[in-house]
Symmetry: C2
Subunit: 136 residues, 2 copies
DNA sequence: CCGTATCCTCCTCGATACTG
DNA sequence: CAGTATCGAGGAGGATACGG
């Protein structure tokens, strides 16, 4: 037991990243990717590279600022690549990296979950608010 | 073709929820669940009901305000139940509903992805920032 | 033990205007 | 086409104090 404890402690230390801990860097990464724009952008890149304006069209209502900001953040984190073709006018393509591709299915699952469960959620909200009103 | 178009249009209308559309209610639901506290709370409820203070202990650093606010939101949306045992002192347990349980694996997957990829993300950030500095 | 209420600060995000 | 720059409103979220 005692001999294994030391080995286990080392094993623990090696995978000590835990988003439950406030000062673990994974907590910040979690809040960065827990973002609706991240989910929508990664989903929009599912079928291959997209140009900037394509993304803007797919993700209706996104402001230039948020789209650019999200893409820059994803690029910096190594989740997407940005490829500039120096034509006139310039053409910029965004694509998923292998790491981005590994996150994409998860983010897309959230999007799909939202689309699949919105009606049930809205029903739950009505019920909750009705019960709340009946209280008075 | 023409006869199928009408049928297809109806089919489309029935599953017309699309988070890519700005004014689709799923867009709001997506941003509600794309939240680090939601991910952490749902993950913390994976192994069964938890008391309020248990959750506060598991999710280190969460303020009472955010924890309560997140739990209320999840309760209203029908993802968790809140059970009060009127003892002294009062005991409150939170648990996943079936709908909450259906979302949990996805949110937990994000948490796990963050923990598994933090080192690679940090490496990508360093590389990005280094290239940025070399530019000058 | 499980909250609610209030204040206050930062930071997100949209709108708008301009550039290579 | 694909951004950058700037401003300003509003909400997120922490700290603190108090209540059932």
């Amino acid at each position: 037991m005692a001999t294994r404890t030391a080995a286990e402690r080392r094993a623990q230390a090696k995978e000590a990243y835990d988003a439950y801990l406030a000062d673990c860097p994974t907590r910040d990464l979690l809040s960065r990717i827990s973002d609706k724009w991240v989910g929508l952008v990664l989903s929009a890149l599912a079928d291959g590279p997209r140009r900037y304006n394509e993304l803007a069209r797919i993700i209706a209502g996104v402001s230039q600022k948020m789209l650019t900001q999200t893409l820059r953040s994803l690029e910096r984190d190594g989740l997407v690549t940005r490829t500039v073709t120096p034509s006139v006018p310039v053409r910029v393509d965004y694509a998923l990296t292998p790491m981005g591709e590994s996150l994409r299915p998860v983010m897309q699952a959230i999007k799909h979950w939202a689309e699949a469960n919105i009606e049930q959620v809205e029903a739950a909200r009505s019920a909750y608010d009705r019960a709340d009103a009946a209280q008075e």
